[in-house]
């Protein structure tokens, strides 16, 4: 473990939107001292608690598992609680994620995001009679969809996707990831209905394989690859794997 270092002086520029006091968004700069291993979330908390209580953002777990604090940092979508000061530089610009309606400052409206998630039937579909104990699934079958089970629905992928920026009707990468998680689960029987939904004009085909989503994912999910796998399943009409 590296030993403790001194603090560093940061210039933090934040895109503000305060609907009750100002009609339009504006930039505001804060100066704050932080330790290199502080999280960006710690920096935001310091500003909020010591300088400006009106600064508004979501947060909860503070270690990258709940997905509350996705925001655009120096042009990339990040979780503020997963990004350390030492990895982001001394001049930091923070904005709400693009492609979402802004409610206040860094808080965006997630309702449309979750509505799209719901559209792909993100739940196990299987009406067969249940065994008394568990359904069997081999380690290999379990591994097949492991990557997409990691999704925390933070929206970082969807908010980084130019196709989403251009068309808010598009279902977006996070929804496809969550469809993938079931399409390739050997216990699920809902692949045909999901593939039909995703084969629609606002389904997978609006993905232009730009890879922003994979780069943005704080969980390291290979998002673009998952989308490609769903595309192939639609073409070959199969979720049995290639």
């Amino acid at each position: 473990m590296a030993s403790d270092e001194g603090t560093v002086a940061l210039q933090v520029k934040i895109r503000r939107f305060q609907p009750e006091t100002k009609a339009d968004p504006y930039w505001q700069e804060f100066r704050v001292e932080a330790e290199p291993r502080d999280r960006l979330l710690d920096v935001l908390n310091t500003i909020k608690w010591e300088q400006d209580g009106t600064l508004t953002y979501r947060r909860s777990c503070a270690h990258g598992v709940c997905g509350s604090d996705a925001m655009r940092v120096n042009g990339r979508n990040r979780l503020a609680c997963k990004l350390l000061v030492q990895d982001v530089g001394r001049r930091i610009s923070i904005e709400p994620m693009l492609g979402f309606p802004v409610i206040r400052d860094l808080v965006v409206d997630m309702d449309p995001f979750f509505a799209k998630y719901e559209k792909v039937k993100p739940f196990l579909i299987n009406d067969e009679s249940l065994p008394r104990t568990e359904r069997l699934q081999s380690p290999e079958q379990r591994e097949r969809y492991d990557d997409t089970t990691k999704c925390i629905l933070c929206g970082a992928c969807t908010g980084s996707c130019p196709s989403v920026w251009a068309n808010r009707e598009w279902v977006g990468p996070a929804s496809i990831v969550n469809a993938h998680r079931f399409i390739f689960d050997s216990r699920d029987r809902g692949a045909p209905e999901r593939l039909q939904i995703l084969g629609d004009r606002n389904g997978v085909w609006r993905c232009r394989t730009i890879f922003n989503c994979s780069e943005a994912c704080p969980r390291g999910i290979h998002v673009t690859e998952a989308i490609e796998e769903v595309k192939r399943a639609i073409i070959y009409n199969s979720s049995e794997g290639e």
Binding site: R37, T56, S60, C61, S68, P122
Partner: protein, 579 residues
């Protein structure tokens, strides 16, 4: 007034709340109120697994699980409840699998199981593989699976609503009042049954594994309305939090064979607990670490020791412990393949909480008198299955077993006979006064930040792994002082749209009430048991303290009225705990 009416209102959308909702969604109108989006709930941070005696890997029996739970809890566990927990864990885990939870699998396709602290075969002979898991993100998988099922069953969600008050009338709980964060409005939810599923209050301590949202809302709101809080002095410090940040490194690491090492490179747990070693229960391992540090064997003489997985090899680490090793890399710049990870005990889990019976019904006194219409499940509740110390994986078991039972009881027993109690007049008055009082107050110079920091430091330094009369008395005075200052706090943000400063201050008030009950219980319990260790009373005292504390809020700040209720003992007579 914004008025909503449902048969059942569940507050909290973590594992317990969603499990309860699942039992009710088909047959009644249900609303789930959550101050977060449901998938942000802290259940998602649970790592290691969920215990159930499936016996997929080796012989196991629910009764062994029951025994381990009772012994692990230092015999403060109600044994009728522990029996329910251990028995029903099995079918509840199968329910989760049937709903699609992606458990790790054995070669023959069954749910894989691994070792965890305090879980043993044949009443303590040695470790047993009982924890069903999905890598080291079991809680994430449970939360996602439950939310998926809630979407399937079209549960009504009110997201980003903060509960501020519990409404009672005619001797029955009849609703809650909540603040809608998006526009600052107060909403009244009228219901036949209210379920508190709001989780714990780890944010009262400086070093904690808990989310910022874990502020004891359900406990505080109930306490303010005359419901007692049970065994609040029983608070668990998890042995392996990342140094300084407190982020949890799951016991699963030790379940897979990780070592704890002091500055001499010694596996010190072997000295204290020869049989279970690193897999002794958490309260004990936290004290071992405390003792090593006190005797100068912390790393570099500081207040931490090492957790090492180096000898497990990359393959095991990547397959079974991927997330927690990422935490070490990301937050401490330590590479666990090659280096040990600095850890220290971190405030983790409330064994105490709102007292309930085994059906999740809230009970008001030592006779277990039921408060009609009010239920609680999960960490907010005290059934009591964890007694003085919870075993690893039993929190997820608690959620699914008692969330399920609360839901079933409401559906099968309560709703068929219950009527809506009339709402009290001015149902929203108390919640409105809290919000308007803060938004309307002129700048007083009293800020939330100073109060929060002093609270966390006080709880960490005086109500931590080791306690004594003198520090607890000082802590009591401090909490009284903080509550007095809290009443004068003023906000920088007086607008209504998504006012998170307002939310944080309201949460801070809840935490202070939880602290009050915790300190009072700890002062009065002049013994050492489980997570409550008094250096001035080092022995467990079954003659005087084999009983549950009930703390009722009184007129005097800092001094709740304390009453006591007997522990239910069915099978296992209290014995000295040795591992």
């Amino acid at each position: 007034m914004n008025y909503h009416k449902f048969d059942v209102v569940i507050v909290g959308a973590g594992g317990a709340g969603l499990m309860t909702a699942m039992q009710l969604a088909h047959n009644s109108s249900v609303a789930v109120i959550s101050k977060l989006y449901p998938t942000r709930s802290h259940t998602g941070a649970a790592q290691g697994g969920v215990a159930a005696a499936l016996g997929n890997q080796e012989e196991d029996h629910w009764k062994w699980h029951m025994f381990d739970t009772v012994k692990g809890g230092d015999y403060l566990v109600d044994q009728d409840a522990a029996e329910v927990l251990a028995r029903e864990a099995i079918e509840a885990v199968y329910d989760l699998e049937h709903w699609g939870l992606p458990f790790n699998r054995t070669d023959d396709g069954k749910i894989d199981q691994r070792r965890f602290g305090g879980h043993t075969r044949n009443y303590g002979e040695g470790p047993v593989r009982r924890s069903c898991y999905a890598a080291d993100r079991t809680g994430h998988m449970i939360l996602q699976t439950m939310y998926q099922q809630s979407v399937k069953n079209q549960v009504n969600f009110f997201n980003e609503y903060l509960m501020l008050d519990l409404l009672m009338n005619e001797g029955q709980a009849c609703g809650v009042a909540a603040l809608c964060l998006r526009d600052g409005s107060i909403h009244v939810f009228h219901a036949k049954a209210i379920v508190l599923a709001t989780g714990g209050y780890g944010r009262a301590w400086r070093v904690t594994s808990n989310a910022l949202a874990c502020t004891g809302d359900g406990m505080a709101v109930a306490y303010r309305r005359g419901v007692p809080l049970e065994d609040m002095e029983m608070y668990q410090f998890h042995p392996t939090g990342l140094y300084k940040v407190g982020i949890l490194l799951s016991e699963a690491a030790r379940g897979e064979g990780a070592y704890l090492l002091n500055s001499e490179g010694e596996r010190f747990c072997v000295r204290y607990a020869p049989t279970l070693q690193e897999l002794a229960p958490r309260d004990m391992v936290s004290r071992f670490i405390y003792q090593e540090i006190a005797e100068g064997r912390g790393i570099e003489g500081k207040d931490y020791v090492y957790l090492s997985v180096v000898h497990l090899g990359k393959e095991t680490i990547d397959a079974k412990l991927p997330d927690i090793t990422d935490f070490a890399r990301n937050y401490l710049s330590v590479e666990p393949y090659y280096e040990p990870v600095p850890i220290q005990p971190t405030a983790h889990y409330a064994m105490g909480g709102v007292p309930t019976d085994v059906d999740g019904r809230v009970v008001m006194d030592e006779q277990n008198t039921v408060l009609p219409g009010l239920y609680a499940a999960g960490e907010v509740a005290c059934v009591s299955v964890h007694g003085a110390n919870r075993l690893g994986t039993n929190s997820l078991v608690d959620l699914i077993v008692f969330g399920r039972r609360a839901g079933k009881h409401i559906a099968q027993k309560w709703l068929p006979e219950a009527e809506f109690a009339t709402l009290p007049e001015d149902a929203e008055a108390r919640a409105t006064a809290m919000v308007e009082g803060l938004l309307g107050r002129k700048s007083s110079g009293v800020t939330q930040e100073a109060i929060r920091q002093e609270m966390r430091d006080t709880m960490m330094d005086s109500v931590g792994v080791v306690r004594d009369e003198q520090t607890l008395l000082a802590a009591r005075d401090k909490i009284v002082d903080l509550k007095e200052r809290y009443a004068r706090i003023s906000l920088m943000d007086t607008t209504r749209t998504f006012n998170t400063e307002l939310m944080e201050v309201l949460e801070l008030g809840m935490l202070l009430d939880c602290c009050e009950a915790t300190v009072a219980g700890a002062l009065a319990r002049k013994e050492s048991r489980g997570g409550h260790y008094r250096r001035d009373f080092e022995k467990r005292d079954d003659v005087n303290f084999l009983r549950h504390t009930l703390a009722y809020q009184s007129e005097t700040p800092g001094e709740p009225m304390l009453r006591y209720k007997p522990v239910v003992i069915t099978e296992f007579q209290p014995k000295e705990r040795k591992y």
